[in-house]
Each structure stands twice: as C-alpha cells, then as structure tokens.
C-alpha cells in the first residue's frame, strides 16, 4: 500500500462496482492511452465534444466520432483527501490528491494526482498518463507536466 493505485481496477472481475467499466467506450479510452492516444468523442450532429467520451449526445445524436486530445493540460481544481470512503481506504493510504484537469477545447477530466499531495495549484501544467495496475489492468493518472 505504499504508492496509491487510484484507478482501482484491481477488482475488475469480482467487484460489482467495476462492472460499470466493462463497456466499449471505457476500454477504447483506456486502450487509446496505452497506445499513446488520449481520446475524446464529438457529436457529428451538434459538434459538442465529450470527455469522458460519450456514445450518445444529449442533442439526440447517436453518431459520434473519436478524436485525439493533447494529453497536456492545466489543473482546474484539486483536493487532498485525508479521509477516504471505506471502499477506497482498503486499497490506498491517505492523504492522496485528486483533481480536475482542463485540456484543450475546455474538456475536463477527473483523476488521481500523482506526487501532488503537498502543493497542487490551480493553473499548473499537468499531463495524463496511462497507469499499469498491480492487477495488470490499465487506468490513468495525472502528474505535473
């Protein structure tokens, strides 16, 4: 439990909670990261862009295309968690840092901020990277760029 492995796909096969991740959009996103591509989707009808990716648009559009996003962004906001919910506390030490990152096109994504438990700062440059978990599954984390 030294380095937090937030992304927590360790229990993918047994924990019902992680069933939420068993679909094409999530896999495509994660596999893209592994291949060095940071992917989002865009509605062909109204042009709205989605991070995390969606396959349907609130406009009613069901034809969305994938596109690549620059993996570097800025820290939009942050939190340093000192008291974790039971499900997380079992798997990682506190404190850990999480944040929202702003990428190009005002796309936002939540994630674990690696190595940023002391001085996260809104506006600082950060970068998304794939993370290989103990389980062999893949997730992502955010680190200073």
């Amino acid at each position: 439990m030294s380095e937090p492995q937030l992304g927590l796909v360790q229990e993918l096969s047994t924990d019902v909670k992680h069933r939420q991740r068993m679909t094409a959009e999530f896999r495509k996103f994660i596999n893209g990261l592994k291949e060095g591509k940071f992917l989002a989707t865009e509605c062909k009808s109204c042009g709205k862009k989605f991070m995390p990716p969606r396959f349907t648009c609130p406009c009613g559009g069901k034809d969305l295309k994938w596109f690549e996003v620059n993996p570097e962004g800025t820290l939009y906001t942050w939190s340093i968690v000192h008291f974790a919910p039971e499900g997380i506390a079992k798997k990682t030490n506190v404190p850990y840092a999480v944040g929202v990152i702003e990428f190009e096109d005002n796309l936002l994504l939540t994630g674990h901020l690696k190595g940023l438990t002391s001085k996260p700062k809104v506006g600082m440059k950060v970068k998304i990277e794939p993370q290989e978990l103990d389980s062999g599954d893949l997730a992502y984390f955010i680190k200073p760029a």
């Binding site: 992680h18 906001t77 919910p85 944040g99 929202v100 936002l108 809104v122």
Partner: protein, 403 residues
Amino acid sequence: MAIPKVAIVGIGHSKYGKRGKIIEEDIEGEKAAYPAVTIRELAHESYFPAIEHAGITNDDVEASVIGIAAEAFAGQGAAAALIADEVGIIGKPTMRVETACATGSTAIRTAWAQIASGQFDVMAAIGVETMTWVSTAYATELMSVAGDHRWEYPYGISFPTFYSLYAARKMAVDGLTRDQLSAVSVKSHYYGYYNKLAHLRRKVSIEDANGAVPIALPLRLYDCCLISDGAATVILANEEKAKKMSSDPLWITGLGCSSDTMRVTDRPNLTNLGGSVRAAEMAYKSSGRSAKDINVAYVHDCFSIAEIMAYEDLGFCERGQGGKWTEERGPYIDGPGVPVNVDGGLKSKGHPLGATGIGQVVDAYKQVFGTAEKQRQVPDAEVALCHNVGQHGQFVNVFILEP
C-alpha cells in the same frame, strides 16, 4: 404561473443526533433526555406530533410518501412499508423516494403533485434516516458511491471531495478565503446551539474551524455536515381541507426543482450549482416572489462551500460575493441580508439524509408562526425559502412557503 394550492398543516421533528443511545443534554440550565431508538421509533417521534398538530387522526391521511436515502444505513429493505405500518397508515398508497441528500424535499414534492393532481386530499411526507450505526468510513462509502462509478469514484473522489473541488476552484476564481468558509460554520453552530432538536449544540470559533482536522482539503472537519439519525414529518392538504383543518396553514406558494450533469467535469463552472439556479428560478417564478422577498431561508449546507454557493445561486448576494456576504453577517438574524439556517443547518442541527429536506420545512413553519426558540427566532418572518440539494446539484428542490 400560480400553482395549485397545497399547504403544510402539520409538522413533527425528532431530536437529531446519535439516536442509537440515550442522549442527555444540559445546556444553559435546560435539561433534556432522549431515549435510544431505531428508524421505527424515530418515525413515531416525528409523525404523531405532526398529525396531532394538524388536528387529525390516521383515518384522515389518505396516502404517504417516505423519504429514505439509503436503506443500507438501517439494513432494512421495503422500508417505506415498514415506516407506514409503524405509524399506522396501513392499507393506503405509500412509496419511497430517493434523491440522495435531497430525499426529504423530494418526498414533499412527490406528495405535493399527488395532491395537486386531485388524487388525494391529505397526505403525510415522512423522512427518516439512521446513519450513526455504521462506521464513519462506511457511511462515507455509502455517500461516495453516488459518484460516477466509471469515471469518478474509482479515482478516490469521495462525497466531501466533490465539494472540496468546488472550494478550491472558488478560492482560485472568486478569492474565497479560509476565514469565509469558517464563518459559515461559526454561524451554523451559533444558531444550532439554541435549537433543542439539533445534533451538536456547541458554539465554534473561527479558530476552531480554521484549525480543524483536514477531511478533504481545502475542507476541514467543521466545513462538513454531521452524520446523524433523525426523522421529520409534514402533513400536506389541498386548499379545501387545509382551510377546514388548520387555523395556521403554511402554503407552498413556490415549487422549483432541477438537476444537473452526473459528472462534475460536465459542469460549465465549479463555482456554483446550476441545479440550484434553475430550481430557484422555477420556485420564484411560480410564487411571484424574488430573493429580496425572503425573510428566512434554509439552504443545503452539507459543506460550508455549499452554503456559500447557495447564497449566490438563490440570489441573496451577487455572484462571487458569497464569502464576503458571510463575513458581513448577511445570513445572520441581525445582519443586513436574509437570515439563513437559523436552525443550525446540516452542520449543527444534523443531516439525517431522508429527513433533512422535511426538517427544513418544519423549522420554516416554526419561524413563520413564531414558535422557534427565542434566541434564534427571526422577528416577523413571513416568506420562507427551503433549498435542499442531492449530491452536488444532481437533485435540487426549492420551496417558497407563506402563511
């Protein structure tokens, strides 16, 4: 656009607190003791005073709506049926509603619609939750699983963390300060100290709040609401019945409700709650009232940052000025603005999820009819507003209430 006339004609409110054990209080020489109870007895504690207040018996109650946010807290399924049975509303329509922390007000709006539709004349909305029997880590888990399980929860975003993301952003964008956050808690605890039904009756200083243990920075212990057991009930009636049964009906003159995106990252900003803005707009519009008409308000202060955003979203102060308005004593009874959470709010009175939104309306009734404890009674309050939020704005209900 006026809405069908439905009134609150009876109120009941249990003591909030750690109700799995006997509570003994001795505050300013006033002594009180409360028995150890479960969801069943808590429901009684709020329901029977409510029908007595309405001057009716169970025969007059045609249907009920029960607010319970998470059955896992009490370990009892089909809990709506249990609660309805316990209080004796048997063989009549009942149901459970759930919108996370806004569950109580959703019970009221659901009963409101069933009465306004003409289906029933008199109904009970009962909210109850026992949260203190599980560990704090498990309670936090039960509230945190409401984050998106594909994109949020697995990265460690707990329930307090969502609000801390707003706090950090608002500090960066609007210049919100640590002292301003603490000022909210100081106010909540000041009024909660005088509310006999509040969970934690203890005055808190700015220094206490600034120096409290971190929960999810920037938020610290006193920025966060309590984990409480409690119940609250209101009896609702249509115009004809309300006028007949009550000399003091409190009319729901405005009703607004809205929602927001599931993921925090889909919001246009993290300095306010769009759901609150939309629900308030709907409530003001339906009542013909505006923020400046409000004499007493109950806002959803699950966290200090939430209360500050609510000041702005409900129009009590300018956008971005919520922190400053707090420091200027805007939300105090003797302040220049609108008295807010003079019951102690979720932070001092407590936050038994299913009861909270109903408990706000119960206290609004007391304020409007002048029956609150004198140290926290707003003089001549007529128009009350209640604002109850589920998650971080995924569910919002706003009521305007007038005698």
